[in-house]
């Protein structure tokens, strides 16, 4: 048996608490992620190694052989695919840290409602969740980038610009996925549908495994709206010197920024509304 002795209302410094709210939500998410550290590390390293070995040695051998050793545009198939794999990993890794947590918070355990009862505002919950996903994104692009270097799939000089542009694509896509998840009332096959109707086609039809121009014109539009293609295109300019136009580069980055802003603009009001229900 123990009794509590405290003077009610003395412990909390309100101004400080309101200032650090988003960071405290991120802290919670990171602590939660840390419970899965072995899976996160295994996937972070295992996934790129497996893809690179499989694509580089396997499909790469077939492609390089049938193109007479020239690969695509004069580079090996592995070098051609590398920027796409990196961007795809950044997008997937980051967005996983918003989709599941948002469904968990609103629908499964409803834990967001507990956070919403504290000093923290709905906006700060959004920012905190996103911040933690961003940390995961940095880890993903760094490990993936280093492994690409080890496989000699990208040149050293392009390392930083490439991981940065992939991170930007991941940021834009993650904001959009956060908005989508915030709108989901119950998960009735949500992840299966998103995975198979959005993520799989995006992965397959974004000029990932061969130039977009080789696809029939009626499928090329998937690439144009796909953040993965935009990111891959930037990446190929950086790594294999693919020719480009200045305006196209502007479009690519504008697209990431637009997804980022749009994603947040559609997330904030939903969080505010659902938390007040």
């Amino acid at each position: 048996m123990s009794d509590l002795k405290f003077v009610p209302g003395q412990a909390v410094n309100v101004r400080h608490a309101m200032r650090v709210g988003a960071f405290r939500v991120a802290e919670y998410r990171l602590r939660n992620m840390a419970k899965w550290w072995d899976a996160i590390i295994a996937f972070g390293i295992g996934n790129p190694v497996l893809y690179l070995v499989s694509v580089g040695i396997g499909i790469g051998a077939l492609v390089d052989h049938s193109t007479g050793g020239h690969g695509i545009g004069g580079v090996s198939y592995l070098q051609f695919v590398a920027p796409a794999l990196l961007a795809s990993a950044a997008m997937q890794g980051m967005s996983d840290e918003v989709t599941f947590p948002v469904l968990e918070g609103f629908t499964w355990s409803k834990y967001f409602f507990a956070i919403g009862g504290t000093v923290i505002s709905p906006k700060q919950i959004v920012n905190g969740i996103y911040l933690a996903a961003f940390v995961r994104g940095i880890w993903t692009v760094l490990t993936y980038g280093l492994i690409l270097l080890a496989f000699q799939a990208i040149p050293m000089v392009s390392f930083f610009p490439l991981i940065l542009s992939s991170l930007l694509a991941g940021c834009g896509w993650t904001a959009v996925m956060m908005a989508v998840s915030a709108h989901i009332k119950d998960d009735d096959g949500f992840f299966a549908i998103i995975g198979r109707f959005v993520i799989a086609p995006m992965f397959l039809f974004s000029g990932t495994f061969y130039p977009l121009s080789q696809m029939p014109i009626y499928l090329q539009w998937i690439g144009w709206i796909s953040p993965l293609w935009h990111s891959t295109d930037v990446g190929r300019v950086l790594t294999i010197g693919q020719p480009t136009q200045p305006w196209l580069m502007v479009v690519h980055f504008a697209y990431f920024v637009a997804m980022f802003i749009g994603g947040f603009a559609f997330t904030y009001p939903v969080f505010a509304r659902r938390l007040a229900e």
Binding site: L4, P8, G9, V12, S109, G116, G117, T118, A276
Partner: protein, 304 residues
């Protein structure tokens, strides 16, 4: 601490809370009693400064929750109806992380978490995940969590719903200690025994309105008699017997399975019934409770 005037919450056409007035004073334990759907939880969410009112006035700790939500919530402790614990985290982590949301430092929280685990009698479950704990333990953890920021007001929404009798008594004991320590509490409940145990003062709500207000004893005195005689004549004969019983009592209520006879002296009333030549199948004399108050006010039972 809390002042509400004409407080209303409307969802579309539905008036969940319909112009209620009440005040909660410092150090008091204030109850909102009513059946499911009476508007208790909606009122609670407005007091918790998460749901905005549609109409009327509400000040909590002297501030308007529509404008100063975070500042008010900084000094509230909330124990939601569905505990809303993080199931991936251990017991102590749930407390710790929640404290972090209030901007509290690690240095402050380290001893605080242990103190709260002791208060909730969960020291042995310190490193257990939430799903490994019983319902009563989870509820105690939720209460400990609500106290981690040393709040001025603790809000408890249906604190013992879904718990077995023994777990309820453990919880009541903990809440009673809090009251002794001067924490202001607001409790919603649909159990009248709980309201009688825990509340200094309470309001009875039904259909979004406040039907009555007072201390548990005062309400019983105002709206019921001292004792109640419950008699059963069998389902088909209750109705027919009622007019005769009405002659010997201040008031009677005919329920489907029994008749409640409101009198000052139950045993004397039972003798009068026998004298009338009536033979009830069973009979029971008890003291009036808040259940009777509610029945009087609304014509319905609290728990159906």
């Amino acid at each position: 601490m809390i002042v509400a005037k004409g407080l209303s919450k409307v969802y579309g056409e539905f008036r969940a809370v319909d112009g209620i007035d009440f005040e909660v004073h410092r150090g008091e334990s204030f109850g909102i009693l009513g059946p499911n759907g009476a508007g208790k939880s909606t009122t609670m969410k407005m007091i918790a400064a998460v749901s905005k009112r549609t109409d009327g006035e509400l000040t909590i700790l002297g501030k308007d929750p529509n404008l100063k939500g975070p500042e008010i919530r900084a000094h509230l402790g909330v124990v939601p109806q569905k505990d809303l614990l993080d199931r991936e985290l251990k017991a102590w982590e749930n407390l710790y992380i929640y404290g972090r949301y209030f901007g509290l430092s690690k240095k402050f929280l380290k001893p605080k978490v242990e103190e709260m685990l002791a208060f909730a009698q969960l020291e042995e479950k310190r490193n257990s995940k939430v799903e490994e704990m019983s319902g009563g333990m989870q509820r105690r953890l939720a209460i400990a969590r609500g106290l981690i920021n040393e709040p001025e007001i603790l809000l408890l929404d249906e604190p013992t719903t879904g718990l077995d009798p023994q777990a309820r008594h453990v919880l009541w004991d903990r809440l009673f200690r809090l009251k002794e320590n001067g924490v202001t509490t607001v409790i919603t409940t649909h159990y009248m025994d709980e309201a009688e145990q825990l509340c200094d003062r309470l309001v009875v709500m039904d259909k979004g309105k406040i039907m009555a207000e007072g201390t548990p004893a005062g309400l019983i005195k105002d709206y019921s008699s001292k004792e109640v005689l419950e008699v059963r004549f069998g389902t088909d004969r209750n109705e027919a017997t009622a007019p005769q019983l009405a002659t010997i009592a201040e008031r009677i209520e005919v329920l489907p399975d029994r008749i409640l006879v409101y009198v000052e002296d139950g045993d004397a009333a039972l003798e009068k019934i026998h004298a009338l030549g009536l033979r009830p199948v069973t009979s029971l004399v008890r003291r009036s409770s808040l259940e009777d108050v509610f029945l009087r006010l609304t014509g319905r039972s609290l728990v159906d």
